[in-house]
Amino acid sequence: MMLAIDILLYAAVVVALLSAWLMLRMRDEYQMMHFMSPPASVSAILITAAIFLQQGLKSESFKALFITLVLLMMNTVVTHATARAFRIREQRDVWQPAAGEEVPVLPTDEVLMRRAAEPAR
């Protein structure tokens, strides 16, 4: 049992450490945001599993489960809101969103390749 707890715990810490280090290596803020997800999902789930194994069905275990659910759900919302804010900030000279208006997304690789393949007019 102790071995399982140790493995879960160290795996969670390694995932968090790798995510933090790789976030530092990314080129822009959009790429960096991807690395908020592993600690909020994988690490939190592993730590909660370790707490359940260590403590059993006690109140702190269920609080840890609640924290994991909070991190899982709210991280997605925060990431989306942050990316939207960055996009609005990038476009502020040419575009301001009206109420309820969607933020124009960046062209995908497929769109860029199609544009490049089109004959020049």
Binding site: M2, M23, E29, I51, V77
Partner: protein, 83 residues
């Protein structure tokens, strides 16, 4: 020294890149670093609660998890408003 103590100490190292980003990077990157710090500190408080066997302190982790969500949303909102 228990595995919980070792894990919580090792997790503190993950805060160094976030601190570096917060000190040196652009405004957008600093916000991402702040949000990452909120997640890591929540995990750190969970580990420390079990490491020191002070189970009521798990409430601190709950509070931080909820408040870091609000902080991220507020900063994102003001960043979009040309802060």
């Amino acid at each position: 020294m228990t595995a919980w103590m070792i894990g919580s100490t090792a997790l503190l190292i993950a805060l160094i890149p976030c601190g570096w980003i917060a000190l040196t990077a652009s405004t957008e990157k600093r916000l991402v670093g702040l949000e990452m710090t909120g997640i890591l500190c929540t995990l750190e408080l969970m580990l420390l609660t079990i490491a020191f066997n002070r189970t009521p302190f798990m409430d601190l982790a709950v509070a931080l998890g909820l408040l870091s969500f609000g902080a991220g949303m507020v900063f994102a909102h003001f960043l979009a408003q040309n802060l």
